[in-house]
Amino acid sequence: MDHVASLLLGLGNGGVFAALALALVITYRASGVVNFATGAQALYVAYTYAGLRRGELLVPIPGLPKRVDLGSELGFTLALVLSLVIAAALGALLYVLVFRPLRNAPPLAKAVASLGVLVVLQGVLAIRQGTLTVSVAAIFPTDRWELGSALVLADRFYLAVTIVGLALVLAAGFRFTRFGLVTRATAESPIGAYVSGVSPDRVALLNWMLSGVIAGLAGILIAPISPLTPVTYTLYVVPALAAAVVGRFQYLVPIVAAGIAIGMLQSEALTLAGRYDWLPQTGAFELVPLIVILVALVVVGAGMPVRGGLVRQRLGHAPRPRSLLLPTLLGAGVGLLALLATDGTWRGAVIGSFIAAVIGLSLVVVTGYAGQVSLAQLALAGTAAFTLSGLTEGWGVPFPWAPLLAALVATAIGVVVGLPALRLRGLTLGVVTLALAYAIEAAWFRNTDIVSSDGARVTPPELFGWDLGIGAGRAFPRIEFGLLCLGVLVAVAVGIAALRRSALGSAMLAVRANERSAAAVGVNVVRVKVLSFAIASFIAGLGGSLLAYRRGVVTFDSFTAIGGLALLSTAYLAGVTSVWGGINAGILASSGIVFIALDRWVDVGEWFQVISGVLLIATLIAHPEGIASGGHQIADRLARWRARRRATEPAVERPAVATATDRERPAVAAAERPVAAPAAEGPALHVDHLTVRYGGVVAVNAVSLRVEPGRIVGLIGPNGAGKTSVIDAITGFAPASGTIELAGQVIGALAPHARVRAGLGRTFQQLELYDDLSVEENVSVAAFGGRQADRRAAVARALENVGIAALGDRPAGELSQGERQLVSIARACVAEPSVLLLDEPAAGLDTQESGRLGERIRAIAASRTAVLLVDHDVALVLQVCDDVYVLDFGAVIAEGPPETIRANRAVADAYLGAMHDAEAVSA
C-alpha cells in the first residue's frame, strides 16, 4: 500500500509535467518550435500570480519600479484570471517578437531561440524577484485521506484531476471548434492552409497564447505545492518533453497520461531508493523520464511528425576547408600570442576559450557535419573528466595515457548515447540526448556514493618530469598548461578539417543532407551515424579531461544538462558547421574571452545573463544559420573572385566524347546502335511482375522488363505513369512485390545501400545533390572500397567521362541545372555499376544540352553498363535507346525498338491525350 501512497504523491508533479507537455505540443504543432522555455513561462506566471495575491503586480522591465502596489490583496479568482491574461500576452509577445520572424528558420534555430527565451525569463525573474523561494497559499483543499494504510494528499489529487479535465476540454476543443479545426489543418499542411485562405501566422499566434495560458496555469497550480524557485520550474521542461515524445508531439491524451505517469514513477523511485540500499541513492528520480522515453521509443517507435513547408530547411553551409597549413599556422600563432600576452584572469579566459573550443568542435562533428542534434556533449565531456579523476588518483595512470583512456570511455558512452539516432532524427534525438544528459548528471556527477561531496580530485599532468599543470597561487594559470590546451585544440581542429576533406566527412554531410540519397550511393547510414558519435565523443572527452585538469577538482556544475543546452546554443550561434565556428564557440563560451571582456569592460552587472539571451535571439533572427554563415559567404565570394581573375579563358565544358554536330547526330546514332548490342550472357537486370502499392493505389502493376549489358533501355510515359516508382522499387526505396535480379542474383531483400554495392547505380529526379559539397566530393561520396588513390582515380575518371572534369572544385549548389544533372550521373557511375538507372536526366536541359547528354549516356553503355533511362524528353529517348518500354497507369502499354514506338499511336495518345484524333481528322 505504501507504493500506492508514493505513486499518488507524485500526482502533483505529474499533473504539472502533463500540462507543460500539452503547452509544448500546442506550440510545436502550430509553429514547429520545440519550446524549451515552456517551464520558464510557467515560472513567470506563477511569480505574477504570487505577487497579485500579495497585492503587487510584477514589472519585468528594467528602469521601472520592480512592482506596482495594487492597494489590496487580490482574491484567488481575480488573481488567477489576471495572471492567465498576462500568460496569454507573454505567449503572444514571444511569438510576435521571436518565433514569427524565425518561422522559416531551421528547426534547430527555433529551438536555440527558445533557449534564449529561457535564459532571459530566468534572468529577469532572478533580478526582479530574487532567488529566495516564495510560498503561495493553497489553492486546493489540503485534506489528508486515509486509503487503507496509505495517506493521500488531496491537493495533489485535485491538481491531477484538473489537468486531466483540462486535457479533455482541449482535446474536445481541438476536435469540435472551428479554431481546433483550423489548427489541426494548419499543423498538417501549412500550404494547404494558405490555399484554403487560412493564415498560418494567425493560427500560430492564437496557439501561442493558448499554450502560454496552459503553461501559466500549470505554474500557478503547482506553486502552493512546490515553492517557487527559478531553477526547478525551468527544469520541469525535461520530463514534460519526455511526455511529449511519448505522445509523438501529437496526441494529447497519451501525452497527459505519460506526464502523470512520469510524476508518479519519480515519486515511487524516491521511495524505493529510500527503502533499498542497493538502488542508486540519487539519480533514480531523473532516470525516470529517460526510461519512459526509451520504453516509448521501443513501443511507439517514431519521432515527431515533420511539418511541411515551401522552404527547404537546412542546417547551414558546411564549407570545405580550402587549405590546412596556413590557417593552422595562423591560428596556432594567434593562440600562442594570446597566451604570451596575457596573465592572471585574462590568461585563464584564453585557456577557457581553448577548452570550450575543443568541446564545441565535438558538436561540429556530430551536429554540424553529421546532422545529429546532440545535447549530451557536455555530459560526455563530464564522463571523461570524472573518469580521469579515477584513473589518475585511483590507479595512478600517467599523463598522456590517462586523458586518452578517459576520452575512450567517453567514446564508448557516446556510442550508446548515439544509438537512438538510428531511429530518430532532428530534435526528437535532441530531446532524448537531453534526457540522457540529465540522467548522467544526476546518477553519476551528483551521486555522492560515487563522487565525494567536495568533488573528484585530478592529479596534474606531467610529461618526462615537465609539469604541464595549471599551477596554483601566483603562478596560476601557468603557460605550460595553456600550451597543452592549445596543442590539443590545434590537433583537434586540424583533425576535423581533415575529416571534412575525407571520404567519411563527405559521407557525414551526405547523411545530414539526405539519408535517402546517401543510401542510394552506397553510404552505410548506420555506420556513419555511429562513427560520428564516436569521434565527437572522443573529442568531447579530450575537452572534458582538459577541463578537469584546469579545475583540479571535478564537480558536477561544470557538466550540467542545462550547461549542455547553453553549449549547443553557443555553438549553433557561432556556426556549428565549420571548424572556425567551433573555435568561435570557444571564444563566446561563458568561460571564454568575450565573457571576461564584457564582465570587465561593460558594467551590465546583474543584467549580463538577460542581455546575452536577448543578443542570442536578435543574432538568430538576423542570421538563422549562425554568425559564421556571413563569414562563409564572404570567403566564397573571395574565392570566386580569385578564380575569375585566374581564369583567362572561360571555363568551357570539354566534351569527353568526340562531338558530331547536332544535325548529324541522329544518323550517327543509328549507325552505332547495332555495334553496342551484343547480349550473349543474359540480362544484367531482370525485373519480373514488379508491383508497387501506395495505400490503396497501385502505382506499378506487374511490370516485367530486362536490360542487357551494354544496351540502353528507355522507360517513358506521362506524368504519374509509375516510372519513378519502378526505379524506386528496383533500388529498394519503395516496397514492392515481384522479383528483381541483378546479373542473376535476387536482390529484392537487400537494403538500398547493399543493392548499390551489388552493382546498381541510380540518379534522382530531384538530383539530391549535396549542395555544400564540391563536385568532386559529391562524386567521391559514392566511390567506395579500394584504396584512397584508387578512389580518387575513379572519381577523376567519372568526371572526365561525363565531361565535367573542369568543375571538380566548385560547390554543387552553384552549378547550372545541366551541370548538376551531369554531376548526379557521374555520382551514379563512379562505382562502375553493372546497371545504371537514370531518372529524368534531361529535365531542365535545353535541346543542345540534352543532345550532348545522349552522347554521354551512350559512352557509358559502350563500357558494357546496362542503362535504364526514364525521361520526358521523348526525342532523347527515341534517339539513344536500343529498346523502349511505354508505361501508362502503372502498366506496360507498348514495348519495342524506337522505330516501332515512334509509329505507335498509343504512345502519342498517352502523352498528348487524344490530340492526334483531331489532327488525323484535319490532315
Binding site: 498538417e188 499542411s189 494558405y194 490555399v195 498528348l912 492526334h916 489532327e919 490532315a923
Partner: protein, 243 residues
Amino acid sequence: MSARLECRELTGGRGATVVFRDLELDVQAGTVLALLGPNGAGKSTLLLTLAGLLPARAGNVAIDGARLRNGNAVAASRAGVVLVPDNRSLFTTLSVEENLDVARRRNSPAPRELLDVFPALEKRWHLAAGALSGGEQQMLAMARALIQQPKVLLVDEMSMGLAPLVVETLFDTVRHIASDHGAAIVLVEQHVSLALGVADEAAVLNRGTVVLRGAADELRHDGQRIERAYFGDVDPAPAGSPG
C-alpha cells in the same frame, strides 16, 4: 477595362534560379486559359508565384486592376486568387466536410451545397481525405477551392495520375466554374487535347517564356504548332513529320 488577371513583366523562380522571365499574361473573367508546356517549363512555379506562395523577382500581378502585394499568400487569397496545387495539399487526416469547413468564409455557401457540383463526394462525406481515391481527392481539392468563391482559380496538373473518364468529368466542372461563377481560370495541364477542349485560350510556356499563344479552337486543329512549341525542333509524331 482591365482583365480579371493581369501579369506584367513578371519574373520569378525558386531559390537562386530564375524560372520564368518578363511574362505578360491576361485572363478575362469567365474564361479558361490552358497553360501548356513540357516538364520544367516553369508552369507550376508561375502558379505558385501568382498565388503569393513564392515572391516574384520583378513585375507585378493585378486582379481587376488592383495590384497584389508581392509574395503575400494571405493577401492574394483575400483578393480572390485560389490555387489548387498539383499535390493537392489536402488535409488528409480531416474528413471531406472538415476540409471544406476550413476553407469556408463568411459569404461562402454551406459545404453541402458543393455536392451539387461534386455529387461523388456525398458518400465520402465523413471519411478522412487521405482515404479517398485520386479522383475523389482531386474533386475535393477543387471543391475546397470553389467554396472560397474564387475570382481567379489556378489549377495545377489536375489530371495527374487520374483515369481518363475522371479527368473528363473534372474538365466539364472547370468549364462550369468559369461560365457559372465568372472566375478566370488558369489551367496547367499535360493532357493537351482535353485542355484545349475546355479552354478559351491557350499559351505554351517553354523554358520560361510564352512561345505560343492563341485561341484554343485554332490550336486544337493545328497540332503541329503545339508539338513544335513543346518539343523544339524534334517532332516525335510520324504524321506530317518533315523529316
